[in-house]
C-alpha cells in the first residue's frame, strides 16, 4: 500500500473542504433547522407520537440521513469530477497508486466531511428537540457505513458525469425523492399497504430505519436487515468502481 499517496489525496481533499468550511456547513445546518421548525414544531405538534417518540424527535435520524446522503454524493462526485474537468487528474492516474488507494483517498475524504456534517446536524437537533440515543455505537456505525457507501456512489457519479448539470442531476432526481419516500418524515406503517410494499424496494428506507433504531429502538425493518442491506449497497458500489478501474471507463482512453 502506498499510504503516503492515500494521505496526500485525503489531506488535499480535506484542505479543500476546510477552505470552504463556511458554505459546507451553513447550508445543511440552515436547511435542517428549517425542517425542524416547519415539520417538528409547526406541523409536528399536531401529529401523534410514533412508537412512543414525539414527531420532532422522530424525524431527527431521517433528517441527518437526508443530509448525509446528499452531502456524501455531492462531495465525492465533485471531488473526482473536478480534477477530471480541470485536467489535474493526470497526476493521480500517472502516480504509483492503485484503485484502492485512489478510492480510499477521495472517498474517505468525502465520507469524513459528510459524517462531520451529520454530527453537526445532530448537535443542531439538540437545540430543537429532546431526544436520547439508545445505541450510540450503532448510530456511529450506520453514520460511517452510510457516509462511505454514498460517497462511493458519488465517486461513480463523478466519474460518469460529463458536465456540472449531470453532477447535480442524480442527487436531485434520485436521492432526494428516495429519501423523502424512505420514511424520513413518517413510519411506513402509516402508509396504505400497497405503498408500504413499494417502499420496501427503496434502499434508503433500510438506512433510515436502521439509523432510527439506533436512536429509539423502533424501526420499520429489523436492524440486521438494515445492516445487511447497507453492506450490500456498499459491496455493489465497490464492484462498480472495481469495474471502472479495470476497464479504464471514462478515465483511461
Amino acid at each position: 500500500m502506498n499510504w503516503h499517496a492515500v494521505k496526500a489525496i485525503y489531506m488535499f481533499e480535506i484542505n479543500r473542504a476546510i477552505r470552504t468550511i463556511g458554505q459546507s456547513i451553513i447550508s445543511p445546518v440552515l436547511s435542517t433547522s428549517l425542517y425542524f421548525i416547519v415539520f417538528g414544531a409547526a406541523i409536528g405538534s399536531r401529529i401523534n407520537e410514533i412508537d412512543g417518540v414525539s414527531y420532532g424527535a422522530f424525524i431527527v435520524p431521517g433528517l441527518i440521513m437526508l443530509q448525509l446522503l446528499t452531502q456524501s454524493i455531492s462531495n465525492a462526485a465533485f471531488g473526482i469530477y473536478f480534477p477530471r474537468f480541470a485536467g489535474t487528474i493526470y497526476e493521480v492516474l500517472s502516480a504509483p497508486v492503485s484503485a484502492v488507494e485512489i478510492v480510499l483517498g477521495f472517498v474517505g475524504a468525502a465520507a469524513t466531511k459528510s459524517i462531520v456534517i451529520g454530527l453537526i446536524i445532530l448537535a443542531t437537533a439538540t437545540l430543537f428537540v429532546d431526544f436520547q440515543i439508545a445505541h450510540p455505537l450503532w448510530m456511529l456505525l450506520f453514520l460511517v457505513l452510510t457516509g462511505f457507501t454514498f460517497s462511493l456512489l458519488g465517486f461513480i457519479i463523478g466519474i460518469w458525469a460529463d458536465g456540472f448539470e449531470q453532477l447535480q442531476l442524480v442527487p436531485l432526481l434520485v436521492v432526494t425523492p428516495l429519501t423523502f419516500l424512505g420514511g424520513t418524515f413518517y413510519s411506513i406503517d402509516m402508509l396504505p399497504e400497497f405503498w408500504r410494499d413499494v417502499s420496501l424496494f427503496n434502499p434508503v428506507l433500510y438506512l433510515v430505519s436502521g439509523f432510527r433504531w439506533a436512536f429509539y429502538e423502533s424501526s420499520d425493518v429489523s436492524i440486521l436487515v438494515s445492516l445487511s442491506m447497507t453492506l450490500g449497497f456498499m459491496a455493489a458500489a465497490m464492484a462498480v468502481i472495481w469495474w471502472i478501474f479495470k476497464t479504464g471507463w471514462r478515465v483511461k482512453p
Binding site: A8, R19, T88, P96, K252
Partner: protein, 332 residues
Amino acid sequence: MSGLRKPSTRRKPIMSQTRQSETSAEPILAVRDVSKTYEGGFRALKHVDLTIRKGEIFALLGPNGAGKTTLISLVCGLAKLSEGTIHVDGHDVTRDFRKARAKIGLVPQELTTDAFETVWNTVSFSRGLFGRPKDPAVIERVLKSLTLWDKKDNKLRTLSGGMKRRVLIAKALAHEPEVLFLDEPTAGVDVALRREMWSVVGDLRETGVTVILTTHYIEEAEMMADRIGVISKGELILVEKKDELMRKLGHKELTIKLDKPLDAIPANLADYRLDLSEDRLSLTYSYDTTAERTGIASLMRLLAEDGVRFRDIVTKQSSLEEIFVGLVEDKK
C-alpha cells in the same frame, strides 16, 4: 530480468553529477513493438520500438497528431496499451506499475494546475502521491533550482504561464524521478520563455535525470537533445544522434538526365560521389546544402569538358528532408 539489475541507486535531481556513460547496459526506457488503437478504432501508434539510455536527453519530434502524447501516455499509464510492452528501468509498466511509475515524472502538455493551492503545497502533494515521505529539504532544493523559491507561498492562479510550467516541472521532480517527460514544454510560449525552458532543460542535464521531451520544432530538438526520434502518423520513422541527423538533413540530390547512355563515370569526376543509374541514362549527385561549396558549378563544367550532354536536371530533397518540410508545413 530484474534479477540482473544493479541495486537501484536513487540519484537526487538538481545536484551536480557526472552523466552516466551512454553505453550504460540497462535502458531506462524500453518500448517494444508498441501499438495503440483508441476506442473507435483510430490507430495512433504503429509498432513503435524505442530504447532510451540513462542520462540521455531525447527529443521526440513530430507534427501535431503524430502520436507523441499518446506514447507518453502509454508509458505513464494514462492510456491503455493495445499491443507491445514498455519497461521503465526494467519494470513492466502494466504488471509492475508501482515500481515503473515511481521512477517517472510527467509534465503534461496542458497547463493544468489547482488554482487555489500554493506552490509549496502542490509540490509537496506530488511527492506524497508518488509514495515518498515528506522531505522539505528536497522540495526546497527543487523549488530553488527552478527559481520558484520566492513564489512558494503564492497561489497558483497568481502565477504567469511560464511560472506555472515551472511548477509543473517541480511537481514532476518532487519525488526525485529518474526519467522526466516534458510534453511540448514550449508549445504556445513566447521566445523569451522558450529560451528560459531551454536553459531549464540544460540544468536538468547536469542532474543526470533522463529527459524525454516532445516538440514540433526542429530547432528546438536541435537545441536541447542528444538524440532525436522523428514520429509521423503514429510511426517512429527514425532515431538518430542529433549531429548525425543534422548532417543528413542538409542533404539534397541532383539528378542529371543524359542524352545518351554513359558507359562509365568519367575519370575526372571520381572525386564527386556520383551514381550512374542502371539504364545508364542518369547521374545522381548528392551534396550538402549547408557546405560552403556544393560543387554543382564545377561538376557542370567538368561534364561539359567531357562532352557529356544532358537533357534535364532535377534536384530533390532526401526523403528525410521531405518529412521535415512536411513538419514545417504542418506548423503553419
